[in-house]
């Protein structure tokens, strides 16, 4: 069973529907016991970083998530804000501490070129930089749907890059952690394929 973590931040239902569509058994929950008994975890999210972390803390999920993701090595998918929350720090409306599970910071898009509008909204092609089972069956440079004003600057290598006034991390992979800045649940066929790959992913046997 996949638990989609409900922490009051965004389009839980879209991601749950998309996972069900590809055959997953899904539970939307904010309860610690549910997170603990989940086989896989999805942290979606749209909204402000500070609120996201504060809500996770209030629900008592910060340490639970670290425990389930690091110690128990459960397959984890973070989407959009759910990817950014993995970082050490974010600079969205002040400085906030993140989950600290993937080294790096979250910063705002800043451009000198006035033509580039923020938020970065729409379909943009993604360049797979590392082999990942999550990309299986998806052609490199496929377009995925993005909508965000901040992006994750990882200390290590990104699994995939996208270009908006320069390259930025479109996807991250670190062991059992996979995360996308784009929205697979909104990216039609390619997005559903990625979710199906997550469903079939078994990183401990990799």
């Amino acid at each position: 069973m996949i638990v989609v973590i409900d922490y009051g931040m965004g389009n839980l239902h879209s991601i749950a529907k998309a996972l069900e569509y590809v055959g997953a058994e899904v539970l939307i929950s904010s309860k610690i016991p549910d997170v603990k008994r989940a086989d896989k975890l999805v942290l979606p999210g749209i909204g402000a970083f500070g609120d996201g972390i504060a809500n996770l803390r209030e629900l008592g999920l910060l340490d639970v998530l670290r425990e389930e993701i690091v110690a128990k090595a459960k397959p984890f998918l973070g989407i959009c804000l759910g990817m950014q929350l993995l970082a050490d720090r974010s600079f969205e409306f002040g400085e906030h501490e993140g989950l600290g599970l993937v080294r790096g910071d979250v910063v705002k898009f800043e451009f000198g070129d006035e033509k580039l509008r923020v938020p970065h909204v729409g379909w943009n092609d993604v360049d797979f930089r590392r082999f990942s089972p999550l990309f299986a069956g998806i052609k490199n440079h496929t377009d995925f749907y993005f909508v965000h004003s901040y992006h994750f600057v990882p200390s290590g290598l990104a699994a995939a890059l996208c270009d908006y006034g320069g390259p930025f991390a479109a996807a991250l992979q670190q062991g059992n952690i996979f995360a996308t800045q784009f929205h697979p649940e909104k990216s039609q066929k390619a997005g559903l394929k990625l979710l199906q790959n997550f469903l079939e992913w078994n990183p401990s046997h990799a």
């Binding site: 965004g10 389009n11 239902h13 879209s14 529907k17 998309a18 569509y21 749209i46 909204g47 402000a48 609120d51 804000l81 006035e114 509008r117 923020v118 938020p119 970065h120 909204v121 729409g122 379909w123 943009n124 092609d125 377009d143 749907y145 993005f146 909508v147 965000h148 004003s149 270009d163 908006y164 929205h183 649940e185 909104k186 990216s187 039609q188 997005g191 559903l192």
Partner: protein
């Protein structure tokens, strides 16, 4: 590279999908859920549902439609109509909307835009601006289905909603809407140059070259209804045309 978006807009009124001309003369044009599925199959980049039902009661069907579409179409859905509170927004997002489109309430209660952007993120909040030309040729923002003048200049208002935290602007020319005579590219250019958030052009597309003109004027996305309802043009043909015309679109 970021692609220009092609967005069919679906107008709902009292549970029916309709099409208007200059915000009047409504004609029935089919079933919203079936139509949405067709646009999804044609790989439209996004869909916008706008409900102009007179009463809250009649608007309930909107939630059902959004829910049904969200169950099968895994693409971005923007939904608007009658939103007056953060609670309305929450309910729409729960039904499966990804973005909400706020129009009259943004004027009557600008604080709603700020609160909603903080709560749900700027990228979730689209402010829709309906614009008419007055007799002396000046642009003016209208609300309540273009029946009520506000005295506001669209450029001033666009900058203000950007400051309030809106993530996108849907700009509709009331004079062009449903006429299929082309977008008001001057209006689009004025607004797109004034703000740095994406601007969606709406109202007037009748032939494929109209899309290109709106993009040249500075739109990040083109929304249209009549051209897809009443002609044999589809998002597929639009994409092909724009691609051949050198515009960056999804292929």
């Amino acid at each position: 590279m970021l692609k220009m978006r092609i967005i069919p807009s679906l107008l709902l009124k009292d549970g029916r999908m309709v099409k208007s001309v200059r915000f009047g003369g409504y004609r029935d044009v089919g079933h919203p859920v079936t139509t949405a599925k067709i646009y999804d199959a044609q790989r439209a980049d996004e869909l916008i549902f706008l409900d102009i039902s007179a009463s809250r009661e009649e608007r309930r069907t909107l939630f059902d439609y959004v829910r049904q579409v969200a169950e099968e179409c895994f693409m971005p859905l923007g939904v608007g109509g009658g939103i007056t509170s953060v609670e309305d927004i929450r309910e729409l997002l729960k039904s499966g909307a990804d973005k909400v489109v706020i129009n009259t309430a943004a004027i009557e209660n600008p604080e709603l835009v700020r609160k909603a952007a903080l709560r749900f993120g700027s990228s979730t909040i689209v402010v829709s601006i309906d614009v008419k030309k007055t007799q002396d040729g000046k642009y003016e923002v209208f609300i309540r289905g273009a029946t009520t003048s506000t005295g506001l200049d669209p450029v001033t208002w666009a900058k203000e909603v950007e400051g309030l935290g809106a993530g996108e602007i849907l700009i509709t020319s009331v004079d062009q809407e449903g006429t299929m005579a082309g977008y008001d590219t001057i209006l689009i250019r004025n607004v797109a140059e004034a703000v740095s958030i994406p601007v969606i052009a709406h109202g007037g597309a009748g032939k494929l070259s109209d899309f290109k003109e709106a993009i040249v004027a500075g739109a990040s996305a083109v929304a249209a209804a009549s051209i897809f309802h009443f002609t044999d043009q589809s998002p597929i043909k639009t994409r092909k045309y724009l691609h051949d015309a050198g515009v960056n679109v999804r292929v």
